[in-house]
């Protein structure tokens, strides 16, 4: 296990919440349990040594065939110390729920809505969880691996 100042501080504070840690080139990744996600994010934002004050991006990945199926990936940036970290939360396919981090960074609102729209992962505590890119009455979650590229009828033959 390589030494990394940020991951060391994180694993020291939350020894049971961090399931895996990895560093590769200049990227550091930590897999976090979903129950502790909001706690970990608050710590990352408020701790003066870390101060990850910007949420860069949240995205989802569908590993169809593996369990847990979905992975929600958070990219964070600390502007004062110019450091980045990637957090991952794994959720099972039959229970895709993740606590929302909109209480930590307000900018998480729309990326989380997009993951809900595209993958069907629900974010608990989100102020306004509804579809964002597809029409409101669309059925299905397009970025799932079992959703065909051409769409599902009759929505694909609407126009």
């Amino acid at each position: 296990m390589e030494e990394d100042p940020v991951l060391d501080i994180l694993t020291q504070k939350f020894p049971d919440a961090v399931a895996e840690r990895k560093t590769w080139k200049d990227e550091r990744t930590a897999v976090v349990l979903r129950e502790k996600l909001v706690e970990v994010c608050l710590f990352l934002r408020d701790d003066p040594r870390l101060s990850f004050n910007t949420i860069i991006d949240i995205c989802g990945v569908d590993y169809l065939g593996e369990e847990p199926r979905y992975e929600v990936v958070y990219h964070l940036l600390s502007i004062p110390s110019a450091r980045r970290i990637r957090l991952k939360v794994r959720v099972a396919g039959d229970d895709p729920r993740v606590p929302s981090v909109t209480s930590v960074w307000a900018g998480a609102e729309w990326p989380e809505r997009e993951i809900y729209d595209m993958f069907g992962v629900a974010f608990e505590g989100h102020p306004d969880l509804r579809r964002i890119l597809m029409p409101d009455d669309w059925q299905g979650h397009p970025l799932r691996k079992d959703y065909p590229l051409g769409g599902i009828e009759p929505w694909s033959e609407r126009y």
Binding site: I55, D57, P135, L149
Partner: protein, 390 residues
Amino acid sequence: MAVAQTLTINMGPQHPSTHGVLRVVLELEGETVLRAVPYIGYLHTGIEKEAEYKTYNKALTMTDRLDYLACNNNNMAFVLPVEKLLELEIPKRAQQIRVMMCELSRLASHLAWLGTHALDMGAITPFFYCFREREMILDMFDMTAGARMTPSYIRVGGVAGDLPDGLMEKLKKFLKIFPGKLDEYEALLTKNKIWMMRTKGVGRISAEDGMNLGLTGPSLRACGVRWDIRKAQPYSGYDEYEFEIPVGANGDVYDRYLVRIQEMRQSARILEQRADGLAPGPVKAKAVKVTPPPRELLHGSMEALINHFIIFSRGYQVPAGEAYVPTESPKGELGFYFVSDGTEKPYRMHIRAPSLMNLQALKKMVQGRLVADVVAIIGSLDIVLGEIDR
């Protein structure tokens, strides 16, 4: 008894000033905006899903259509994580050409922004002036890559081909007149009383709110945060150029305008540092499986022909793993997150679009302002719906 009622009106998606198909539902009390809720998705193209069905080279051509004002920056943000996974070493000349193309794209994007922003606010003249300079830049892209707006010139492993003869002369001619043109635009707007009245103090956002919302790019720099990825986490040789980062103070529309004008000056400065000549050498990395062989070899060598065919039909395999490389596009931080499973097609390609996060700041900026200010604020955020909706 008079009861105050709020009026909800709809702005867009077909609207001359929303810079694309953006719909904003405004809740008004008189002319004051109480709430503005943006609705997006009218340009959703499914690029992320399409990329999972295409090889890396083919997926690259779709990236031009994201931020369609600054196409080379999208290509750059695409190739950097793929090259990180492939562990390619890009030759010096290719890096310098890439920086040149990215800075020209930055200029083209800011010029289009200035023209349309001023047009929204009623100043029609800058539109024609800015597009006149933009035509010179698009002409240079046309010479180099074959297409004005969607070049796909920056490829994995380097660039598509070497610069044509006559390009550096054109660039030098452009750089000679450009600072004078910038002075022209500033003379029209910067000290203009009407412009200042419409933009000073409008759409203010604080640095903490901005960072909390994920705001990046010139909009964040206008709040006073000195953060530019080209300086903080440089890529493609940006640390060898001398340039400054303009930073504003108030975080209002006027400061964002000033920051972008100064950024244009700094981009011209970067271009001038290599306008006399780039480093000699190859323009593609030495990776037989990834970069196609030079076309002259295809006539004689069977291996080159087979190689070329396989690269363009089946594609090259990218080692399994994941990578994210941030770049500074004219709108903010643009980055591609790739998850590769070792095959020729990306398992997952996610685009971190700066305009998506920047647009979230609209709700905060617009509160308490008038309806006319909404147009000014949307324009100053410099959003491109192509990358918001992907």
